[in-house]
Symmetry: C2
Subunit: 367 residues, 2 copies
C-alpha cells in the first residue's frame, strides 16, 4: 500500500508528533540549560527514538539518560556518553551493560553495596571503567538512600573498587509534581537537603564531581537547587496533559497526540474512538485532580472518560460538537512516556502533512 | 550472547508463560464448549501470538476473534475464519481488511448505517463477500444499539447490500464482571434480553444464523444464555489477578507472570523490582476492590503497591520475607491482555526451564 502523505491517510490509532512544537520544546530547554550553566542530559525513556536523541544532542545535550540496558544499546549508536539512571542489578544486565561499544562512556547510579560489589566484579572482568554516582532519596521514597552516612559509605565503596570511579551525587525529585506556582516550599526544602548532602560528602572527602537532578514538572527551576550542575528532564520534548495541568507547559506546547477515528456514536452523549488503553495507556493526571485519560487537542473540554483496550469513550457532556462516524480526532494523553511506549512508529507532521516516520527503536527490554 | 535456558538466566523484566498451566486452561475451555455445543471463537487480543492461536485452533476453536486489522493480518497466516469484533471504520482500515488473503473468510460486527455503507462500497470494489453481524448493546454502554428496531434496520441494510451477508447477532456483556457467585441476576437479565432480541429479529424475518457473546469473567455460564451459539473469551488462556479475584479461575490457573529482579531494598518496608507500569501496565483489579497492580505468584499477600515506569514497589507489610537485591520474583498482573501487549517476546517455561520463545507478533497497528 502507498505510504501515507497526509494525516487523514493514516490508519488509526497512530502516534503523531507535531515537529514544530517539538522543536520549540527542545530549543526552550536547551536555551534554559545554557543560560544557567546547567549540563542537560535528557532522559530518552520518553521517546525511545535515536533520531530524536540526536536532535537533543545537536542542541548541546551533554549526554543521554536511559532507564534500561536496551535503551543504552540503541542509543549507543548516536551518543558516546550514557547514564543508566537505574540500578544495574543482575548478571545478564551487567553483562549487557559492559558489552556496550568500548567508545561509550558509561555512568550508572546506584544505592546498595550489593550492586556496587557486583558491578565492580563485572567491570574488572571487562577491564572497563564505569563511573558510579551514588543515589540519594530526597523525598520520593523509591530508590536511593536518605542518610548522609549511607551515601558516604557507598561513595567510599566505589572509590575502593577500581575500575569503578566515583562520579558524584544523583537524585530524582519526582515527588515535586504539584502546580508550578505551588512548588516553592518543596523546592526550598530540596535545595536545603541537597546542599546538606553535598556538604556532608565534601566533609568526608567525597566532593561530588557532578550533582544531578531535574525533572519536567520542575524543569525551569532546576538552577535554583544549590549545587546542582546537571538536569535530566524527559517529558519536555513532547509534554502531555499532566504537564499542562500543572502549568509546566502551555496546552499549545503539547507536541504528541494519538490520532484516532470515531467508530461509533450509537450511545447518546458519547462518541467511541479507536484509541483505548493500548494506545493512550491508563494513567490518571497526577498533581491535579482532573478526570479522564486524555483530552482532545482542539477541544480540551472533551475528555476520554473511559476506555477499553481498543475503545476510548469521549464524553460529549461539555460540548455541542457531535462527531460523525469516521471523523478523526487527536488526543493528548495524560502521560506521554507510557503512551509512546505502546506505539511502534511515530509520525512527524507539520500541519496535516506527514514529513517523516521514526521507529520507536528502544521499546521492550531485549533486541 | 547465549540463549537463556533457565529462568534465572533471563534478563528482566520478562514475560513468562507456564506451558502446563496454559495447556490446562486451553483444554478446560475447549472441553466446556464441546460439552455444551458452543462454538468457541477465542479472542486473540490476549496473546497476539500466532503459535498460541494455533493451539486454540488445534483444540477445536471454530475460528478466531480479533480486535484490530493488524491482528487479522498476522492471524491470517494460521486461520481461515476471522471475526473482526470491532467497527471497520475508516478508508485505510477497510482497504487493509479487504486485502486479507482471499481464502480468509471475513466476518465483522458493527452498529451503524454509516459503517455498513462504507463497508458495502469497499466489498463491492474488492468483489469479496463479507459477513456482517449486527452488534447489540446489552448493558455495557460501549458500542452496539440497544433497541430491536435499530438492530432490525441494520440487518435489513446489510441484506440489501450484497456482497455483504447478514451473519447474525453479536454482543459483549463486559459489564458482568462481579464475583461469579454474584453474577446470577445479571446472567438471567442478559439471557432474557438476548432472547427478546432474537425473537424480534426472527419476527422481522432476520433469524440470526449465529448469536455470539461470551467473556472470561462469565465463561463457564455461557451455555445458560438462551439462544447463544458462539462464545468469545480471551483472557482464559492465561488468566490474571482480576480473573482469580472474582473466582472465574483459581490462583493456580494463572499461567502468565512478569519475571522481575529486586533492584533496591534501601527504603524500609518495601522492595523495588524492575517491573513497573511499562511491564505490568497500570490497571486496578475490576469487580473486586483489591489494592495494588499485581501480586507475587508464590506470595499473593505481597502486592505491587505503587509503580513508576520501570520500578515496581513491593509492599512487605504483610510478610516476613525480606528479599535481597538480585532476587527474582514472578508477578501476576491485574490484567494480562494489556501486560502481554507491552512485551515483544513470551518465554514458555516448564518449572525453571525455558522450553520456547514466542514473538508477540500482532502488537501495534501497523506492520
Amino acid at each position: 500500500m502507498r505510504e501515507p502523505r497526509r494525516i487523514d491517510e493514516l490508519d488509526t490509532p497512530a502516534a503523531i508528533v507535531d515537529v514544530d512544537r517539538m522543536t520549540a520544546n527542545l530549543d526552550r530547554m536547551a536555551e534554559y540549560a545554557r543560560r544557567h550553566g546547567l549540563a542537560l542530559r535528557p532522559h530518552i525513556k520518553t521517546h525511545k527514538t535515536p533520531e530524536l536523541a540526536s536532535e537533543q544532542l545537536r542542541r548541546g545535550a551533554a549526554g543521554l539518560t536511559v532507564a534500561t540496558v536496551r535503551e543504552a544499546e540503541v542509543m549507543a549508536a548516536v551518543c558516546e556518553d550514557l547514564l543508566l539512571a537505574y540500578p544495574p542489578v543482575g548478571a545478564r544486565r551487567l553483562e549487557r551493560l559492559l558489552a556496550l561499544p568500548r567508545h561509550v562512556h558509561i555512568t550508572v547510579a546506584l544505592d546498595s553495596l550489593d550492586a556496587i560489589d557486583a558491578l565492580a566484579r563485572a567491570a574488572r572482568l571487562a577491564e572497563r571503567e564505569v563511573v558510579v554516582r551514588v543515589e540519594a532519596d530526597v523525598g520520593m521514597g523509591r530508590v536511593g538512600v536518605a542518610q548522609s552516612e549511607d551515601l558516604i559509605a557507598l561513595a567510599r565503596a566505589v572509590r575502593e573498587r577500581p575500575p569503578l570511579a566515583f562520579g558524584g551525587l544523583q537524585f530524582y525529585a519526582g515527588h515535586i509534581r504539584q502546580r508550578v506556582s505551588e512548588q516553592e516550599d518543596s523546592l526550598m526544602r530540596l535545595s536545603a537537603d541537597v546542599a546538606a548532602l553535598i556538604a556532608d560528602l565534601e566533609a568526608a572527602g567525597f566532593a561530588p564531581p557532578v550533582v544531578s537532578g531535574g525533572s519536567t514538572p520542575a524543569a525551569f527551576t532546576a538552577h535554583r537547587v544549590k549545587g546542582m550542575g546537571e538536569t535530566r528532564p524527559g517529558t519536555y520534548i513532547f509534554n502531555d496533559r499532566t504537564t499542562a495541568a500543572i502549568d509546566a507547559c502551555a496546552w499549545d506546547d503539547c507536541a504528541y497526540t494519538v490520532l484516532a477515528t470515531v467508530v461509533s456514536n450509537a450511545v447518546p452523549g458519547q462518541a467511541v474512538v479507536d484509541a483505548g488503553s493500548k494506545a493512550l495507556f491508563r494513567e490518571d493526571v497526577r498533581g491535579n485532580s482532573m478526570p479522564g485519560f486524555g483530552a482532545l487537542l482542539d477541544r480540551p473540554e472533551v475528555i476520554v472518560k473511559a476506555m477499553s483496550e481498543e475503545h476510548g469513550m469521549l464524553d460529549l457532556a461539555k460540548t455541542d460538537w457531535r462527531p460523525r462516524v469516521g471523523e478523526q480526532v487527536r488526543i493528548v494523553p495524560n502521560h506521554v512516556c507510557v503512551s509512546v511506549n505502546l506505539h511502534p512508529v511515530l509520525w512527524g507532521v507539520r500541519g496535516d502533512t506527514i514529513e517523516t516516520r521514526w521507529t520507536v527503536a528502544a521499546r521492550g527490554w531485549t533486541s
